[in-house]
Amino acid sequence: MSEIDDKTQAVSEKAVSSTQGQGREDGGSGGVIILFFIVGLVASLVVGWVLFPKLLYSQKKQPIDFNHTLHNTLVGNGCESCHSFREDGSYSGVPKLAQCIECHEEVQSSNPEEIRFVEQYVKKGIEVPWLVYARQPDCVFFSHAAHVKAAKMDCATCHGPIGESESMKPYQQNRITGYSRDIWGENIGGFKKNTWDRMKMDDCSECHQKKKVVVGSVQTQKEGCFVCHK
């Protein structure tokens, strides 16, 4: 920061000559410089947007390729036929084997997946190690009752049209966090089109603010943290 008036002159003379010298030597290299810039830019964009997500997520196949559409036509009560509430108000999530056995004690069709299911799991009495796409981190308390029962929300609002799927997409696990890709969303940039594209806290919060759900927090003027955290 010091003022270097006394030295300025001498140095600038040198500098001027040096600039001139460079000007002579590097004339017309502006294009090269821009090219290098573009190469760097494009390469890193490709790394960030294309390569990075491939490295970040590992893929796992579900143990059984479950067909939601098929089941939906066979049950009477929509999603709640299998994904039900317990008496204490908690949500049972993915059904346990016992629930499946109610229908699948014996093989019902010629579907090879069903045959595999009955043989590998039902007959042996082993729980199916389903990989839950929507599993939230342990610190999250999500009340299905509040959303489905009290607010009468549709399952699809958060889960999307999974009930219409005929086959299970691969489960993608974030190698760093260990969580399902569906939490962050398919788009690595975090952009979303539908309400169910992402399941991060910001997405919960977005909806809660829109719906003007109770304001309890002194700090954020939003909802209290303990509403959704445990």
Binding site: S2, E3, I4, T8, V11, K14, A15, V16, S18, Q22
Partner: protein, 434 residues
């Protein structure tokens, strides 16, 4: 291409050692003498060893967690936060000297401003480093920006601290660019020149930011209404400690700059800054200190007689029934560390006498450090629930090492900067070659 001289030397590498030596001397500013490279490297290695010790302790803290420290649930804040507050107060010389030079236009201070900036840069980078070690979840450190709680003094600290650190970096860069070799690059030369001309803007920004973060560091303790030892009333959202901290940093910071300058002079064995410059800054510092200590005494008096009793405490409750914190610490802070140095520096005689002046610098540095100590550690030590007891604390070696780490880093940065950068504009004049 540039750097021909270097390139030539490289091309003819037959003797690596010779080459290194030549490179070293090529980097040293014109017209000044420096110690031999060997001596320099040995000294650097010694300090570097201390630095490595600190780095080892830092890694222990990061990988094993804060159980490596002697902090506990009573001492959530301890040595590190003290070190943080202290270095920031001491680094206050940068913003205040800058303020004086660029805003008040005390032109003589151009002869010390470089060093003030460098010391400020060291202090603030150290503060940030210590904070990064101090938090339990370093990988979540960015939450303070992203999920900021605007009510928290610490948020204010974090934002202003980071911004001011950037300002200091911007202020430090032209200094680096003035290195003999770098300066030969026209781009850098012009950059440096342009930065110089806009420096007043940065100095103003720095002063503004400093006002807030120095203040909010004071606010950190002052807002603790659950801690009668720390709590102060105030103005709007800012407790009195907010203003006291800013004021004391402005008052005491330059003393630290001058003290370090004196130490540098002693080690290099050269006069680096003219006495009139030192005396000017010392005088301003002295008067700042005088006004500060009056304010501090009023604050202490009001706190002892109004604030604390309203919460059921007598002053003596804070200074008795324990094995360390006696009333002596208050005397040390206010009298020895405040009144005495202020009295020395505001008198002409005191300023002119090198011994008195230097004593005043040291006392001032102690004074402000003690103030920051009590505002962190004594706050934690005082029992508040009647059935609670005093908790005393002694830092673990890991805490000590990580606190010394930035000191070592600072010394190294000063060594390198002093050797290769024209920090002291008056050096050549004061120490003519031959």
């Amino acid at each position: 291409m540039n750097g021909y001289g270097l390139a030539e030397q490289y091309s003819g590498i037959s003797n690596q050692r010779r080459g290194t030596k030549v490179m070293d001397s090529a980097l040293i500013p014109n017209g000044v003498r420096r110690c031999s490279l060997d001596k320099f490297l040995v000294a650097l290695a010694v300090v570097g060893a201390v630095l490595l010790w600190g780095v080892y302790a830092m890694l222990l803290c990061w990988f094993k967690g804060l159980n490596q420290t002697n902090m506990n649930d009573n001492y959530g804040f301890a040595l590190w936060i003290w070190a943080d507050l202290a270095v920031i107060a001491l680094g206050g010389g940068a913003f205040f000297t800058g303020f004086l030079k660029y805003i008040i236009a005390k032109d003589e201070l151009k002869n010390i401003i470089n060093y003030a900036v460098l010391i400020g840069f060291i202090c603030y980078s150290s503060a940030l480093l210590i904070l990064a070690i101090d938090i339990g979840q370093p990988l979540r450190g960015w939450f303070i920006f992203w999920h900021a709680n605007v009510h928290s003094m610490l948020t204010e600290v974090a934002f202003c601290l980071s911004c001011y650190f950037m300002v200091l970096t911007i202020e430090y860069i032209p200094l680096i660019l003035e290195n003999r070799q770098i300066d030969r690059v026209p781009f850098f030369h012009h950059l440096s020149h342009n930065m110089h001309s806009t420096m007043a803007v940065f100095a103003a920004t720095g002063a503004f930011l400093s006002f807030f973060h120095q203040g909010s560091l004071g606010g950190v303790a002052g807002v603790l209404f659950g801690r009668p030892f720390a709590y102060r009333e105030g103005l709007f959202i800012w407790p009195w400690t907010f203003f006291l901290f800013t004021w004391s940093a402005a008052a005491y910071g330059p003393c630290f700059t001058l003290m370090v300058t004196r130490i540098t002079e002693a080690i290099s064995g050269k006069k680096l800054v003219k006495d009139n410059v030192v005396e000017l800054l010392a005088k301003i510092s002295g008067w700042m200190m005088t006004t500060y200590i009056i304010a501090k005494i009023i604050d202490t008096f009001y706190w002892a007689n109004v604030t604390a009793p309203s919460k059921g405490f007598n002053l003596i409750d804070f200074y008795s029934n324990n094995g360390f914190y006696g009333i002596w610490i208050l005397v040390l802070e206010i009298v020895l560390g405040g009144i005495v140095p202020a009295a020395i520096l505001i008198t002409d005689k005191g300023r002119k006498s090198p011994i008195a002046r230097n004593t005043a610098f040291v006392l001032a540095v102690i004074g402000v450090s003690v103030n920051r100590w009590v505002m962190v550690l004594q706050v934690m030590a005082v029992p508040i629930m009647t059935f609670d007891t005093w908790a005393l604390y002694f830092p673990s070696w890991q805490e000590v090492a990580t606190t010394i780490l930035p000191v070592a880093y600072g010394i190294m940065l000063i060594m390198i900067s002093y050797r290769y950068l024209p920090i002291f504009p008056q050096e050549a004049e004061l120490n003519p070659a031959d």
